[in-house]
């Protein structure tokens, strides 16, 4: 799949933002006043920034408001609605903490559940795609959850939780990459099943339907950069998981180190999210003799 920057930024940043909101909602850390303002500012900046970025890849952004209408069937619609509801509920909780010195814990819990629910709906946009076997697995929501919780813990300064979550995240990420290698062949799709000609013999594309790339090939059969996959995976695991863990465990605990851990994690997160899209193979490639 084409790794559109807007979609990478959207899933990465809004996941971090809603992850941080989850921690703030349950009162970890139990901030109020200016420090609450600072943390909520970061959470809203990430979540809203990500959501705004997601509209950049739309052909007709002016109609984006209609995307809130189809929650009965569409995960993308559910995601949009839950995101807005989460932001509104958390805003009530944040106003209490920042301006009134009141901790409305029930509102906070509700906001935390809604925030993580938003992350789940985001992940289901991808996990529901039977056409992309690498995404079509429970590991996709698991990964999105872990990225949100681990990144949120880093931002919220929950160091011991962050260390634990980052280690689990790194393991699950490696498992997902490993299982992902075989997912396409395990799903059983071949050029023979795609064309239905398998009972006649082995099928290969003799002539493409058109002389230059079309929308389908650009969007669904993205192959650029696949040769650097191994290097990028190592970079992603190091920066996203191991380096932040090492900083927290081995180095003195101060703001600069915390910032370094967060920046390292975010760069690793972007590398891994780029791979999430660039490596995903869509079954339509079979009609073009490609994967």
């Amino acid at each position: 799949m084409h790794p559109a920057p807007s979609v990478i930024i959207f899933t990465a940043l809004s996941g971090l933002g809603f992850g941080l909101m989850g921690w703030l909602g349950v009162g970890l850390p139990a901030v109020s006043g200016w420090s609450a303002f600072a943390l909520f500012f970061v959470a809203y900046g990430l979540a809203v920034g990500g959501l705004v970025a997601s509209t950049f890849h739309l052909g007709n952004p002016k109609r984006a408001i209609k995307a809130f209408s189809q929650w009965r069937s569409s995960w993308l619609s559910r995601e949009g609605i839950l995101a807005i509801v989460s932001l509104l509920v958390m805003a009530v909780y944040a106003i209490g903490l920042i301006f009134l010195n009141q901790r409305w814990q029930i509102v906070g819990w509700a906001g935390a559940v809604l925030s993580l629910g938003t992350v789940f709906t985001t992940s289901m946009i991808y996990a529901q795609m039977k056409t992309v076997p690498r995404w079509n697995t429970p590991l996709t929501p698991a990964l999105f959850f872990l990225y949100a919780l681990a990144g949120g813990a880093l931002l919220a300064g929950q160091t011991s939780a962050a260390v634990l979550l980052l280690i689990v995240l790194s393991i699950v990420q490696v498992v997902a990459w490993t299982l992902g290698e075989e997912s396409f062949s395990r799903a059983g799709h071949t050029i023979e099943t795609a064309t239905g000609l398998g009972n006649l013999g082995r099928v290969r594309l003799l002539e493409s339907p058109h002389s230059s790339p079309n929308y389908l090939l650009k969007e669904m059969v993205y192959v650029v950069g696949r040769k650097h996959v191994d290097k990028l995976r190592v970079i992603a695991i190091f920066l996203m998981g191991l380096v932040p863990v090492a900083i927290i465990v081995l180095l003195p605990n101060n703001q600069f180190m915390a910032a370094a851990a967060v920046i390292s994690h975010i760069i690793g997160l972007f590398a891994s999210r780029w791979l999430f899209f660039a490596q995903a193979e869509h079954v339509v490639g079979l009609y073009y003799g490609k994967r």
């Binding site: 799949m1 890849h57 739309l58 052909g59 007709n60 952004p61 002016k62 109609r63 984006a64 209609k66 995307a67 809130f68 209408s69 189809q70 009965r72 069937s73 569409s74 995960w75 993308l76 619609s77 949009g80 946009i125 529901q128 795609m129 039977k130 056409t131 799903a187 059983g188 799709h189 050029i191 099943t193 795609a194 064309t195 239905g196 000609l197 009972n199 006649l200 013999g201 082995r202 099928v203 290969r204 594309l205 003799l206 002539e207 493409s208 339907p209 058109h210 002389s211 230059s212 790339p213 079309n214 929308y215 389908l216 969007e219 669904m220 869509h282 079954v283 339509v284 009609y287 073009y288």
Partner: protein, 251 residues
């Protein structure tokens, strides 16, 4: 709502004959011509006169080679447009309600006024039947020429999809698959019509009729080969030919 109808009164679709299709791409062109000037926005082309022309098409013809160990390769031309699936995943993923499947005839359509161009439906389609129009920013797909098949203003013989009307080989057939007595149902039953990538669970309406098996030409004895390919042999010649053979041998 982008929920799918529980059932549809009719199941309009195409039976595409892979045995008959000659790969001329006339259906591609006539589809483009009809649909660029009728339902919805035009089908735009990008860099049409440049080095890398591309454009929006609702119907494309692939060409495959099928090879077994024993036989010579067989070429199969393979037209592909929307299969109007009964369990269309492109419809349910749509967040805006632009995509829908009609309960009366099963046609899958996009209401372009509601489409925000997110492209998710194209991701959900296993067949590559949906293409985003780059100029309009909306999703385009085969409408089964909904503006022809019910159109009282055109002659009756034209009230079929443009691709069906134009095919010079008669490889595309239009009809109602819900009616077991329809032309397409009978054709599909007789010829063993099959669905594409059935393991995706999309339940396509369109059926493909497999190529008929060709004569086996791997053994020399089964058909007459042209003269130059035969062994030079004159042993059975008699009379004048026998004399001529011997005379020529002596030269």
């Amino acid at each position: 709502m982008t929920s799918l109808p529980k059932s549809t009164d009719k199941k309009l679709g195409l039976a595409i004959d892979l045995d008959t299709c000659v790969g001329c791409h006339a259906c591609v062109i006539s589809c483009k011509e009809w649909n660029t000037s009728n339902y919805g926005s035009p089908l735009s082309d990008m860099d049409a006169y440049g080095a890398q022309p591309s454009g929006t098409f609702l119907n494309r013809v692939h060409t495959y080679e099928v090879k077994t160990l024993e036989r010579a390769a067989q070429v199969v031309h393979f037209p592909k447009s929307c299969l109007h699936c009964e369990d269309a995943p492109c419809v349910t993923v749509c967040p805006t309600g632009a995509s829908y499947k009609r309960s009366e005839d099963g046609i899958v359509l996009v209401n372009e006024d509601d489409c925000m161009g997110c492209g998710l439906c194209a991701w959900a389609c296993p067949y590559g039947a949906r293409e985003m129009d780059v100029a309009e920013g909306v999703m385009k797909k085969c409408t089964l020429c909904v503006d022809r098949i019910y159109n009282d203003n055109i002659p009756e013989e034209d009230r079929v999809p443009s691709c069906v009307r134009t095919c010079p080989a008669g490889a595309r057939h239009f009809g109602d698959f819900a009616d077991p007595e329809s032309n397409v149902s009978i054709l599909s039953a007789e010829r063993g019509g099959f669905a594409l990538m059935a393991e995706q669970g999309t339940n396509p309406v369109n059926r493909y009729l497999p190529p008929r098996s060709k004569a086996d030409i791997s053994g020399n004895d089964q058909i007459e080969l042209p003269a130059p390919a035969l062994e030079a042999e004159t042993g059975g010649a008699k009379g004048f030919l026998s004399w001529l053979d011997k005379a020529l041998e002596k030269i």
